[in-house]
C-alpha cells in the first residue's frame, strides 16, 4: 500500500501535463474531426436549397415505385396489380418456388416468413415514399432557395403522391398509422388511425394538389412536357374521383369524374393496341419504367413468349374464370389477352395489355406503366350515377365503354343490375391493373362470397380476415402501439 501513496504525487504532475495537452488539443484540433458530408451524398438542408435537387427528391419517388425490378409496386412480379391479381381470381400461379406467389395465390399471407423473418410486402416501400413526401413538404416550408413556381409544383406533386400512397395503404391494410411529419420518434409510436381519418387526409392532400398543380404536363423543372409521367391537375382530379367513389361520396365522385371526362385533351383510344403506349390519348398519368432494355415489367412477367408458365419470369397465367368472364365478341378479350398452347394442347392465357416482353436496349421504350386512365373515369361516373339513381346517365357511361369494346349496350336498367353490370365491366376493363378487382370485390361486399369458392380451388382456405394484409412483424416489434390485423 505504501507504494500506492508514493506514486500519487507524480501522477498528479502527469495529469497536469495531460490536462495541458487536452486543452491544446481542444482548442486546436476540434476541427480535425468535423468533416464535410461525403462527396457522394448531400444533406437534407442542401437538397431543399435549390430547384434542381428539390425536384430531384420528388423525381426519386416516381423512380422508386417504377424503376426497381425487384420491388416495384407499379408493375411486374412485385406489383400491387400482379400480387393482388393472384390473391383475387385473376391469375393462376405456376411457380411453386416463387415465395411471394405461393403466399398471395392461396391467400396464405403471414407477417412472418418461413425463416422467421418479417414478411413486409408493400408496407415499407409505401411508407418510405411517404417519408420522402413528408420530408419534401417539410423541406420546402423552410426553404428559401427554391423558386415559387417550382415550390408550388413540387408541393402539389408531393401531396398528390402522399394521397396516392395512403390510398393503397388503407385499401391493402385497413386502418394504418398516419405519418405526416418526419420525426421518427413520433412516427415510430403512432397508433393506427381509422380509415376515415386516412381518407380525410387523402382528400385534403388531393384538393391541395389540384390547387397547386398545372393543367399541363410538366417536367421536373416546370417546363411543358409531352410525356404524362408526372401528375398534373387532371391526375389529382381523377384520383379524387376514385377516392370519393371509395368513400361513397357519390356526388363529388360524379363531379370530379365529369371534370376529367370533360377535359378535351383526353379521349378514349379506339385502337386497343394503343391504350398502354406512352402516347396513349386516354392516359391521365403514367410512369416511366426506364429499366435498361425493357419496356414494362408487366410485359416481361406476363407475356408467355418463351413457353408455358413455370419458373421465372413466366410464373403466372390468367385464371380461366377471368377469361370466361368476357362476353363473346369483346375486343378486349381478343386484344388484351394472349394465348399460348403447349405440346399437350393446353391453352394458357396471359395479360397482353403490355405487348413488349423482350429485352432490347437498342430500342427506346414505347410502353409506359398506366396508373390512371380515362376509361376508369367513365366507370367511376357510371357507378356514382347509379348510386344516385341516375339510370340513364349510368347507362350512357357504361355504354361508352361497351361500345368501344365492340359490345351491345347494357341491358341493366335499375340500380342493382346497373351496379352489377358496372362491376362486371370493371372486371374486364381493368383486369391486372393496380388490384382493381380485389378492391372492387371488397367494395361490393362480394369478397367473401367469391373467395370462399376460389381460394380452396387455389389450394388454400379462405377467411374473411384475409381481406386485409398482415402488418409486418418487424413493425409490430418496433412499435408497441401497433396492432395486428385479426387472423394473422
Amino acid at each position: 500500500m505504501l507504494s500506492l501513496i508514493t506514486i500519487s504525487r507524480p501522477y498528479k504532475t502527469n495529469c497536469g501535463l495531460l490536462g495541458l495537452l487536452i486543452i491544446f488539443c481542444q482548442a486546436g484540433c476540434t476541427k480535425f474531426v468535423q468533416l464535410d458530408p461525403p462527396t457522394s451524398a448531400i444533406t437534407g438542408k442542401i437538397v431543399f436549397d435549390n430547384n434542381t435537387s428539390a425536384a430531384a427528391a420528388m423525381t426519386s419517388i416516381y423512380g422508386n415505385i417504377a424503376s426497381d425490378i425487384d420491388y416495384s409496386i407499379a408493375h411486374g412480379k412485385t406489383s400491387i396489380g400482379y400480387l393482388m391479381g393472384l390473391a383475387a381470381d385473376e391469375l393462376t400461379n405456376y411457380d411453386p418456388t416463387n415465395q411471394l406467389n405461393v403466399q398471395f395465390y392461396p391467400n396464405a399471407l403471414s407477417s412472418i416468413s418461413s425463416n422467421g423473418k418479417s414478411n413486409n410486402y408493400f408496407w415499407p416501400l409505401l411508407y418510405n415514399q411517404i417519408y420522402i413526401t413528408n420530408s419534401i413538404l417539410a423541406g420546402l416550408t423552410n426553404s428559401k432557395g427554391v423558386s415559387a413556381s417550382i415550390k408550388s409544383q413540387i408541393t402539389g406533386e408531393a401531396k398528390f403522391m402522399r394521397a396516392f400512397l395512403y390510398f393503397y395503404l388503407v385499401n391493402l391494410y385497413g386502418d394504418v398509422p398516419l405519418a405526416t411529419g418526419t420525426d421518427y420518434r413520433v412516427n415510430n409510436l403512432l397508433h393506427r388511425s381509422p380509415s376515415a381519418e386516412i381518407y380525410k387526409q387523402i382528400i385534403a392532400d388531393l384538393k391541395d394538389a389540384q390547387a397547386q398543380l398545372s393543367d399541363d404536363f410538366l417536367d421536373a423543372f416546370g417546363a411543358k412536357a409531352t410525356e404524362k409521367i408526372r401528375p398534373n391537375k387532371s391526375a389529382a382530379t381523377a384520383f379524387l374521383a376514385r377516392v370519393y367513389l371509395y368513400t361513397g361520396d357519390w356526388a363529388n365522385a360524379e363531379t370530379s369524374a365529369s371534370a376529367v371526362i370533360g377535359n378535351t385533351k383526353l379521349t378514349l383510344e379506339t385502337n386497343f393496341n394503343n391504350v398502354f403506349l406512352k402516347s396513349s390519348k386516354e392516359a391521365i398519368w403514367q410512369l416511366e419504367s426506364n429499366y435498361v432494355g425493357y419496356n414494362t415489367f408487366d410485359g416481361l412477367y406476363y407475356v408467355l413468349s418463351y413457353g408455358a408458365p413455370g419458373y421465372d419470369p413466366s410464373s403466372v397465367a390468367l385464371s380461366p374464370d377471368l377469361v370466361n368472364a368476357f362476353e363473346a365478341g369483346d375486343k378486349r378479350r381478343t386484344n388484351w389477352i394472349g394465348e399460348y398452347t403447349d405440346d399437350n394442347i393446353t391453352y394458357y392465357y396471359y395479360p397482353y395489355k403490355y405487348k413488349i416482353s423482350d429485352y432490347d436496349e437498342t430500342v427506346s421504350p414505347t410502353e409506359y406503366v398506366m396508373v390512371l386512365r380515362l376509361a376508369e373515369q367513365y366507370l367511376i361516373r357510371a357507378e356514382a350515377r347509379a348510386q344516385q339513381d341516375n339510370v340513364s346517365g349510368a347507362q350512357g357511361d357504361i355504354n361508352t365503354i361497351r361500345t368501344r369494346a365492340g359490345l351491345v349496350n347494357t341491358s341493366a336498367s335499375d340500380k342493382a343490375s346497373l351496379l352489377a353490370a358496372i362491376f362486371n365491366e370493371r372486371r374486364t376493363e381493368l383486369f391486372t391493373e393496380w388490384g382493381h378487382r380485389w378492391f372492387d370485390l371488397k367494395r361490393s361486399s362480394n369478397l367473401n362470397a367469391v373467395m370462399s369458392i376460389v381460394t380452396p380451388q387455389k389450394g388454400g382456405s379462405w377467411s374473411p380476415n384475409w381481406a386485409v394484409l398482415p402488418i409486418p412483424l418487424s413493425d409490430l416489434k418496433a412499435n408497441p402501439n401497433l396492432t395486428q390485423n385479426s387472423g394473422y
Binding site: 508514493t6 495537452l21 461525403p38 413493425d475
Partner: protein, 1098 residues
C-alpha cells in the same frame, strides 16, 4: 468435474510425473569451465551469469555424472575452484567470487571494502548492443538507476558486499555482486513464458510484470498451421477469443469476438493494429454492421476478412489485449479488445537466408448424406399421394420430362474433389550493430475442389513482400525503424452456387452437357426455355477479385535526455480491390433469347494514415521505477467504392472491357473517417513486487455530431507479485511465481457507419424523365454519442516448481452502456432502422483459465502442454422501459442479448402428421403465435478453449492442438430450404418421416402444396427444432517435423534444415446434426488440409 478441480488434478498429475530438481548428465575430460556451463545451460534451461574475467584463474574440470542434481554438479565443478561460488535464483545461476576465501587472506582489503564507492557498468544484449532503459538496482532496494542510451549506469556510494539486480523487459533478470571495476554485463533474452516480450499498446511488457490481460501467439504457432489468414491460426489458442470461420472457401470471412458481445446490434470487431498502424476490421465499403450488404460480388466472400491480405509468415507475434488496463489507451475503439500484429524484424548477425515451402491437399472436413434418385422419387410420389394430387406440368423431376433412371451425386460432382494448397516463403535478414534488415517474399495458392470450365479460375493466390530496416546513429540516440508489407491477392473462387445447389438439386436432374459438349438446358422442345438452370452455366462467366494491400510504418525516435525519448510513429495503409463478374450469353439458357451479356465492375479502396507523436520517460523514484508515456494520435481513413453494372456488350469476348458496354449503370460511395486523441500512461514498479499502471485518453471521432465528438477514457491496473515477499518465499518454496492483479477502466465503441448522424440524400441509380433523383439515405439523428464499456478484471497468476507449471485464472466483468445500436424502427418512419444510443446495460462476465506445463524435460525428450478454457456469460442487465421499446419482443432482462425467440417444438402430431408447437394457451398448435408462444433460445457458447501439446525427441517435434466449443446452433434445417416433398433434395435422415396415423417419427409428412404441412414447416424453421447442440471438439492442427542433426548440416553447409508434415481440421467430434457445427450453414466449414514441406536456413 468442476474446473478448479480439474486444474488442481492436472497440476498434481504433472507434479508426480516429474520432480523439480534438474538432472544433468555430463562426461568429459579437461573441459574448460565455460564449456561445462554451456552444456548445463542447454540441458537444464537455466541461464548462467558471470563476468568473463572470473575464468582467468580457473582450472579445467573432468566430470562423469549421470542424472545428477544440478547443485551437486555445480559443486563438483567448483570444488577445485577456490575463488568461485554459485547462487541459484529462479532459473538463473550466478557465478560469483567467494568472499570467505578472500577476506581472511587479505584482511587489509576488508577496510577498503567498507568504503563506499561509485559502481559503474554497461548493460548490453546478447549481441553486445547497449540496452537503454535497463534497471539496475541494489537487491536491498536502496539505490536504483536506469541505463542511458549507451547502456551505461552509475550507482553512487555503494559498498562492495552488496548485490545488484539488473533487469530489462524481455530479458532474464540477473543478480551480480558489486565490485569496484566497471561491470560489463550482457543480458540474455528470456525464453520462458513469464519473461518473454509481450507487445502492448505503445510499448512492451512481460507476463511477469504486466498489470493487464494479454495473450500471445508466437510465429512458431502460426507457422505450424497451413492457413492463409492469421485469424485462423488463433482458433482455440487464446482464452476469451472466439474466431469463427464462416466458410471453407479460400478468401472467406471470419467472425471475431473477444469476451462476448458488448453491443446489442453494433460492431463487435476488435481493434486491429499492425506494427502500430490501425487496420480495417472489415473490407472497405462494407458497413461494419451489415456484412451482407457489401459490394463484394462473390457471395461466398461477403464479409470477407481484410486479414486475408496479411501474410501469416511475416508475423512475429500476435497479442490479444482484453482487459481495461491493456486496452483503455486505445480509448473509444477498444471496447471489443485489440489484436496487435507485430511483423518480423531483422536481427544482428551475418546474412541469414530462410526458405520455407510446403504443399498439400484440401478436402471437406465433414459432409452430409443425401437421398439418391430412388429415395428421392419415392419421397416426391409420397408427397403427391399425401396431397391427393398429380404432378403438374412443371414437376419435371417426376412427370416424365427428366429421365428418372438417372442418378447424380451432386456433392461428388461439385465439391468432393481435392483442392490444392501451396505456400513458399523466402526471408533474407541480417545486419550490424547500427543497421539491421529483413526482406521477405512469399507466394501462396489455394484452390478448392470445385468444377472449373475456364482455365486459371477457382483459386486464391497471394504474392507478398515484406521488409524491415532498423537503424540507429552511432551514439544510439537517434533510431529509425521502417517496416512495410505488400500483398497482391487474386481470388477467382466461385463456389456459392455449388455448396448450396448440391444439397437441393434433384438427383435425377438432367446431364450437365449435351453430347456435343454444350451445356444441356433440357428444354421441352428445342428453342424454348429449359427445364432447369444448368449449374455449370455460371462457370462460363468470370468472377475475379484482385486486391493489393500495403501497410507501411516508420518510427523515428530520439533520446532527448537520459530516460526521456521522443518517438513518432507514421503509418500508412492502402487496400484496393478490383472485382469483375461476367455473365456471357453463352452462360444463359438459349431459350431466353438473350443476345448480349452483362458484367459488373467493382472497385473498393481504403487508404488511411496515422501520426502518433509520443514522449516516453523512465526514471527511478524512491525504491521503484516510474515509466510515463504521453502522446497524441491523428488518424484518417478514406473508404470508397465504385460499382458499375454494364450491359449491352457487342460480344462475349468484350465483357471485361467496360468501354464496350452498351449501357452502364454506376453507383458509388465515398466516406471519410477522422479520429484524434491524446493519451497518457503512468506505470510504477516497486521492486518488481508492487505494480501500478494508470491510463487516460481523450478521444474525438468524426462519426458523431458536433458537440458529441469527444469523450474521456481511462483505466487503473495494479499487481502484487507476492512471491517476491520473503515470508512467501520461505513458507511456500514450491511457488516460484505468484501474482494477483486487478484492473478497472472504460473503453468505447464507435463502430457505426460514417456520417451516421447526418440526414444524407444519395443520387438514385435510375434516371427518370431524363434526370437522376436524390433520395434520403437515413434519418437525421444529431444525438449519436459514444457507447461505453466499463471493464473490471481480477486475476491470479501462479508458477510452480521453477515455473514449470504456470497457471493463470482471470475473472472479468464488462458492462456496456449507452448502447450504440441500429435500432429497428417501424417502417412507418420511412426506415427500418435508426442509429441511436440506447440506455441499456449489457454485461459480459466470464472466467478464463490457462495452464502451461512442462511435463517432461530431459536432454533428449521434452513434452509441454497448454490448456485454456473460457466460461462466459452474457446478460442484459438493465433496459429502461423495455416493454414499450422496439426490443420488447427480442430481448429479455437477465438473458443474453443474442437470444432468439423461437417456437417450442412438440414433435410430429401422430394423427395429422405435421409438426406441432407448444401453445401458450396450453396444448399444441401447428401455427403458433410469435408474441405469445415464442420462447428464448441462447446461442452464445457456454464454454470453449483449446488443448495444445508439444513433444520433442532429438530432432523430432510433434505438436497438436485441439479446439473445443460447447454451444447451441442452427442445425441442418438452415441448409435445406423447401418443404420436404417439394422439388429439392434432402438429407438422408429426412426419410424418418410420418407416413400414416399412429407413426411416431421425428419428421413430418412429405407434402408439396400449401396447407397444414406447409404452414407447420414455415414455423419449424423458427422453432427450437431447427437448433440443437453444435458443440464440437476439433483436432485443429497437427505438425510433425524432423530437424537434421547438426553434423549432417555441417556437411551440406546449412544452419538448419527441417522437414515437416502439417494437418489442419483433421478430426471433428460432434453430435451436430448438419454439415459443420462451426459455420452452421450450407458450406462445408473449414477445410481439412494436409501439407508437407521443408524449412532451411542458409
Amino acid at each position: 468435474m468442476n474446473i478448479t478441480g480439474f486444474l488442481l488434478l492436472a497440476a498434481c498429475l504433472h507434479v508426480s510425473a516429474r520432480g523439480y530438481t534438474q538432472k544433468v548428465t555430463l562426461s568429459g575430460k579437461d573441459m574448460p569451465l565455460e564449456k561445462v556451463f554451456n552444456i548445463i545451460e542447454r540441458q537444464t534451461g537455466y541461464a548462467f551469469f558471470y563476468d568473463f574475467d572470473i575464468f582467468k584463474d580457473t582450472h579445467k574440470v573432468t566430470l562423469n555424472v549421470k542424472d545428477m542434481n544440478l547443485d551437486e554438479v555445480l559443486k563438483a565443478c567448483l570444488r577445485d575452484q577456490p575463488l568461485l561460488d554459485f547462487r541459484i535464483t529462479n532459473t538463473t545461476i550466478s557465478i560469483i567470487r567467494k568472499k570467505t576465501t578472500v577476506a581472511p587472506a587479505q584482511p587489509t582489503i576488508v577496510n577498503r571494502d567498507k568504503d563506499p564507492f561509485d559502481f559503474r557498468g554497461t548493460v548490453t544484449d546478447e549481441n553486445g548492443q547497449p540496452l537503454s532503459g535497463a534497471t539496475v538496482k541494489l537487491k536491498n532496494g536502496k539505490v536504483a538507476a536506469i541505463t542511458d542510451e549507451r547502456g551505461d549506469f552509475k550507482l553512487k556510494n555503494i559498498n562492495e558486499d552488496e548485490v545488484v539486480e539488473i533487469s530489462y523487459t524481455g530479458y532474464i533478470l540477473v543478480e551480480l555482486p558489486v565490485k569496484k571495476e566497471a561491470l560489463r554485463v550482457s543480458l540474455k533474452r528470456a525464453t520462458n513464458k513469464l519473461d518473454e516480450v509481450q507487445v502492448i499498446a505503445y510499448g512492451t511488457s512481460t507476463q511477469r510484470l504486466s498489470t493487464g490481460n494479454i495473450s500471445k501467439v508466437t510465429s512458431k504457432e502460426i507457422e505450424e498451421q497451413p492457413v492463409p489468414n492469421p485469424l485462423a491460426a488463433l482458433q482455440g489458442r487464446v482464452p476469451g477469443l472466439i474466431v469463427t470461420q464462416t466458410t471453407g472457401a479460400p478468401g472467406g470471412g471470419f467472425k471475431v469476438q473477444i469476451r462476448g458481445k458488448n453491443s446489442i446490434s453494433n460492431g463487435t470487431d476488435p481493434y486491429y493494429v499492425i506494427d502500430g498502424v490501425p487496420y480495417n476490421s472489415q473490407i472497405a465499403g462494407i458497413p461494419t454492421n451489415d456484412q451482407n450488404a457489401g459490394p463484394l460480388l462473390n457471395p461466398e466472400l461477403k464479409g470477407g476478412s481484410p486479414l486475408n491480405f496479411i501474410n501469416p509468415y511475416d508475423i512475429e507475434s500476435i497479442e490479444v489485449l482484453k482487459d481495461a488496463d491493456a486496452t483503455a489507451i486505445y480509448g473509444s475503439r477498444a471496447a471489443n479488445g485489440a489484436i496487435l500484429i507485430t511483423t518480423k524484424k531483422g536481427k544482428i548477425g551475418s546474412m541469414r537466408i530462410d526458405l520455407n515451402a510446403y504443399t498439400g491437399i484440401t478436402s471437406l472436413a465433414r459432409d452430409i448424406k443425401l437421398l439418391n434418385t430412388q429415395q428421392y422419387l419415392a419421397m416426391r410420389h409420397e408427397a403427391f399421394n399425401n396431397d391427393k394430387r398429380k404432378p403438374g406440368p412443371a414437376d419435371y423431376d417426376i412427370n416424365g420430362v427428366w429421365d428418372t433412371t438417372r442418378y447424380t451425386d451432386w456433392s461428388k460432382i461439385f465439391l468432393h474433389d481435392a483442392g490444392h494448397y501451396s505456400d513458399a516463403q523466402a526471408n533474407v535478414s541480417g545486419g550490424n550493430a547500427n543497421t539491421q534488415y529483413l526482406i521477405g517474399v512469399g507466394y501462396y495458392r489455394q484452390d478448392m475442389g470445385v468444377p472449373k470450365l475456364l482455365p486459371g479460375v477457382g483459386a486464391d493466390q497471394k504474392a507478398s513482400a515484406h521488409f524491415n530496416i532498423n537503424s540507429s546513429s552511432s551514439d544510439k540516440k537517434f533510431k529509425l525503424a521502417l517496416t512495410g508489407s505488400y500483398v497482391a491477392d487474386r481470388n477467382t473462387v466461385q463456389t456459392a452456387n455449388f455448396s448450396s445447389l448440391r444439397l437441393t438439386l434433384a438427383p435425377d436432374a438432367p446431364a450437365l452437357f449435351n453430347p456435343d459438349g454444350s451445356l444441356n438446358w433440357a428444354p421441352l422442345t428445342p428453342g424454348v426455355r429449359g427445364t432447369w438452370n444448368n449449374p455449370y452455366a455460371t462457370l462460363l462467366g468470370r468472377c475475379k477479385g484482385n486486391t493489393s494491400n500495403l501497410v507501411g510504418n516508420l518510427t523515428l525516435s530520439y533520446i532527448l535526455l537520459k530516460g526521456l525519448e521522443l518517438r513518432t510513429t507514421l503509418g500508412y495503409s492502402n487496400s484496393q480491390t478490383d472485382e469483375l463478374a461476367t455473365a456471357p450469353v453463352s452462360s444463359l439458357d438459349p431459350g431466353l433469347h438473350v443476345t448480349t451479356g452483362i458484367s459488373q465492375f467493382n472497385t473498393l479502396n481504403n487508404h488511411s494514415w496515422i501520426v502518433e507523436p509520443q514522449l516516453d520517460y523512465k526514471m527511478e523514484l524512491g525504491k521503484g521505477t516510474i515509466t510515463a508515456l504521453i502522446g497524441g494520435s491523428f488518424h484518417q481513413a478514406n473508404n470508397s467504392y465504385n460499382r458499375v453494372f454494364a450491359s449491352g456488350f457487342l460480344s462475349d469476348a468484350l465483357l471485361e472491357d467496360i468501354a464496350s458496354a452498351g449501357s452502364l449503370s454506376p453507383s458509388s460511395s465515398s466516406t471519410q473517417y477522422r479520429y484524434e486523441a491524446v493519451f497518457g500512461r503512468l506505470s510504477y514498479n516497486l521492486q518488481d513486487k508492487y505494480l501500478l499502471n494508470l491510463t487516460a485518453r481523450r478521444d474525438g471521432s468524426s462519426r458523431f455530431g458536433p458537440g458529441r465528438q469527444f469523450a474521456n477514457f481511462g483505466a487503473v491496473g495494479a499487481g502484487w507479485i507476492f512471491t517476491r515477499e520473503n515470508f512467501i518465499q520461505k513458507s511456500l518454496p514450491f511457488l516460484s511465481f505468484g501474482k494477483i492483479r486487478a484492473s478497472y477502466g472504460t473503453t468505447g465503441n464507435d463502430q457505426i457507419a460514417d456520417y451516421g448522424f447526418l440526414d444524407l440524400y444519395t443520387p438514385t441509380s435510375f434516371v427518370y424523365q431524363g434526370n437522376r433523383g436524390v433520395y434520403p439515405q437515413n434519418l437525421f439523428n444529431p444525438d449519436l454519442a459514444w457507447e461505453t464499456t466499463k471493464k473490471l478484471e481480477g486475476a491470479l497468476e501462479l508458477g510452480f516448481f521453477k515455473d514449470r507449471i504456470l497457471i493463470q485464472a482471470s475473472f472479468y466483468r464488462n458492462r456496456s452502456g449507452n448502447e450504440l445500436v441500429r435500432t429497428p424502427i417501424s417502417a412507418v418512419t420511412g426506415f427500418a432502422v435508426i442509429q441511436s444510443n440506447l440506455p441499456a446495460l449489457v454485461q459480459n462476465s466470464g472466467k478464463e483459465f490457462v495452464l502451461n506445463t512442462i511435463n517432461i524435460k530431459t536432454t533428449k525428450f521434452s513434452w509441454s502442454s497448454s490448456f485454456n478454457l473460457t466460461i462466459a456469460r452474457n446478460k442484459l442487465v438493465a433496459f429502461p422501459n423495455l416493454a414499450n421499446s422496439s426490443y420488447s419482443t427480442s430481448l429479455i432482462i437477465g438473458q443474453p442479448i443474442s437470444i432468439l425467440k423461437v417456437y417450442h417444438f412438440k414433435g410430429v402430431n401422430d394423427t395429422t402428421g405435421v409438426y406441432q408447437f407448444a401453445s401458450a394457451k396450453g396444448g399444441n398448435t401447428y401455427s403458433p403465435d410469435y408474441y405469445k408462444d415464442a420462447i428464448p433460445l441462447d446461442l452464445t457458447p457456454k464454454f470453449y478453449g483449446g488443448f495444445l501439446n508439444s513433444f520433442t525427441y532429438k530432432g523430432f517435434n510433434l505438436d497438436f492442438a485441439f479446439q473445443f466449443v460447447k454451444q447451441q446452433g442452427q442445425n441442418q434445417f438452415a441448409a435445406f430450404g423447401l418443404m420436404p416433398g417439394m422439388m429439392d433434395n434432402l438429407p438422408e435422415d429426412a426419410l424418418n418421416r410420418w407416413q400414416s396415423p399412429g407413426d411416431k417419427k421425428p419428421y413430418q409428412q412429405f407434402s408439396q402444396t400449401s396447407g397444414k404441412a406447409s404452414t407447420a414447416f414455415r414455423f419449424v424453421k423458427g422453432s427450437d427444432y431447427a437448433y440443437g447442440d453444435a458443440s464440437f471438439i476439433r483436432l485443429k492442427n497437427v505438425a510433425i517435423s524432423w530437424e537434421l542433426p547438426k553434423n549432417w548440416l555441417k556437411k551440406i553447409s546449412l544452419q538448419t534444415c527441417r522437414f515437416y508434415v502439417q494437418g489442419q481440421n483433421l478430426l471433428t467430434i460432434t453430435n451436430y446434426k448438419g454439415i459443420d457445427p462451426e459455420s452452421q450453414g450450407y458450406g462445408g466449414g473449414p477445410l481439412r488440409v494436409w501439407t508437407a514441406g521443408f524449412h532451411v536456413t542458409l
